[in-house]
Symmetry: C2
């Protein structure tokens, strides 16, 4: 059924899993698939079968289909290396550096999109996958400008100027939060998995917002604020009792690490230089939390769905590839 209307296939292949979409000629999603066979679990010669396990049923019997892949499959330790494109670069240039991995199945024409790197001394940085979501932003408006944030384990902030990425910075925010909440001394004080309460409970909301502001205003106190969470759990009579206490402290921890990230973005003071809405791309609950943090320090934001962004970026690259000969 998919095979009849199938025009091409988009894939976001990460470290720990892959997601794939069957797309028609107008870019509408005909089917979705995925698996846990991420880059970290595959050797180069296992990629084709891992891909066919997910998309095999979508393919027509004979004719060839384009499969456009972003993410870690193009890493050096992936299927085949699609070398990093250095910034600054236009985001519609990704397709030009796509590489084709070897495929046995004659129905597959696979292209791997490159990641981006930044090699300014002292500002080394890399991304693989997020650049395609960012490219999705310029699918409608090739001259898009502004600040974009992709929250997550390794949160990315990018500066776009008229369709080009001029600079980006990765923060260890999500990983730092998880390590502290689950494996440090704070695990005795902090609740796990509390995104729902955070936005609903007024006390948690307030604790989160206060912590964001504190971290942004005095990032040098970050390490002391961390132990302060534990000490407050032991000493602060104003904290709620029971489960509410751990949720409150988790909200504060989340605010501290996100506030530290905001300190590192060097966003201009919104009272002096409004930067327009920051674009947040990713998981809805996490983007909502970031929107709250940004609002707490005077910035506006808009949230975009992560799947929509990566599909738009893959489609932009697919259109560009249709207009150019295969890179190799």
């Amino acid at each position: 059924m998919v095979a009849e209307s199938l025009c091409w296939i988009g894939v976001d292949w990460g470290s720990s899993h892959l997601r794939a979409w069957a797309l028609d000629a107008r870019g509408q999603v005909l089917a979705r698939g995925g698996s846990e066979r991420g880059m970290l679990s595959l050797t180069p010669d296992e990629y084709e079968s891992a891909l066919l396990n997910v998309i095999g049923d979508w393919l027509p019997d004979t004719s060839r289909r384009d499969v456009l892949v972003c993410g870690m499959a193009g890493a050096r330790q992936g299927w085949r290396e699609a070398a990093y494109l250095p910034v600054p670069t236009r985001l519609d240039a990704l397709a030009r550096s796509a590489v084709s991995p070897p495929c046995q199945d004659p129905r597959l024409r696979v292209r791997l999109l490159p990641g981006l790197c930044q090699t300014a001394p002292g500002h080394f940085d890399v991304m693989r996958g997020e650049e395609t979501q960012l490219a999705g932003l310029i699918a409608d408006d090739p001259d898009t400008s502004g600040f974009v944030c992709l929250p997550g384990t390794h949160a990315k902030w990018a500066r776009l100027e008229r369709g080009a990425m001029t600079r980006f910075t990765t923060f260890l925010t999500g990983e730092l939060y998880a390590l502290l909440a689950r494996q440090s001394v704070l695990r005795h004080s902090v609740a796990h998995g509390q995104s729902a309460e955070l936005l609903d409970d007024p006390g948690c909301h307030e604790a989160f917002v206060a912590a964001v502001r504190e971290s942004l205003a005095s990032p040098g106190d970050f390490s002391a604020h961390l132990f302060g969470l534990r000490a407050a759990d032991l000493l602060d009579d104003n904290l709620p009792a029971g489960e509410g206490r751990a949720a409150h402290l988790a909200a504060r921890l989340s605010g501290l690490v996100i506030g530290l990230e905001l300190a590192g973005t060097r966003l201009p003071d919104p009272g002096v230089t409004p930067v327009g809405p920051v674009t947040l791309i990713g998981d809805a609950a996490l983007c909502e939390r970031y929107a709250l943090a940004l609002e707490a320090v005077g910035h506006t934001s808009r949230c975009l769905d992560g799947e929509r962004a990566v599909l738009d970026g893959l489609a932009l690259a697919h259109r560009a590839l249709a207009r150019q000969p295969l890179a190799e």
Copy 2:
């Protein structure tokens, strides 16, 4: 042999282990002992036998001996709670708040020293054990003033003013370093256990010093600097190859977390207000590393042995107890 000259026994009873010293009338160490039976592994009724396993052989057959204990044995979840003494407090006041846990053995007269707490809103903090090392500083000079740092898993900074502790702050430095080096994405880039190389290898030395200065100057970049270590490992051609690379990046990581701690101490600018040497108490290698960090940002320091400090503090409390009736 010990029993003949034994005057009293000092114990530092931490979360994960205990250390004990047999002392003569002049405070000289007659014998040392220890075990892994820390607070976390004991219920209240197991402390006495855990103690006797270590010090039983030192005791005379009949007469009673003082056993003075600092650290986690006095925590709420320890042998018996010795409630926190709030700061500001004179450091020679610890003995006054000592408590006596129940003992079966008639040869034991045990006293547990209290920890300290700080309850200023927003600056909640606690210590148990370090206060006795700090008390050791005023054993010779009851009017000691200055900044004192006790590096470690949870590094403590204390402000002493004429023999009183007026304020202290705990930093998660050691724990943060260990989590990042061993359990984050940085574990792929950073060497484990590299205190020796750090001070010997000129490249590591330089990387450490530069990172301390960067973190102190712009603590808001801490989270970005962390991911930058990983990116530099992938992209920076100027890094050494092989094992030297991981040691270099470990030195940089250590400098980043210690520099973040220094940012939080709010030490005055040494060019404007020299504060005199910072006193470092603890493990010699770690104190040396902190001395290097302080030197890198213009501060002088002096290192004191951690065992000497705790023995001096226990002796000070023992002399005070000898002059007062038992608290209960």
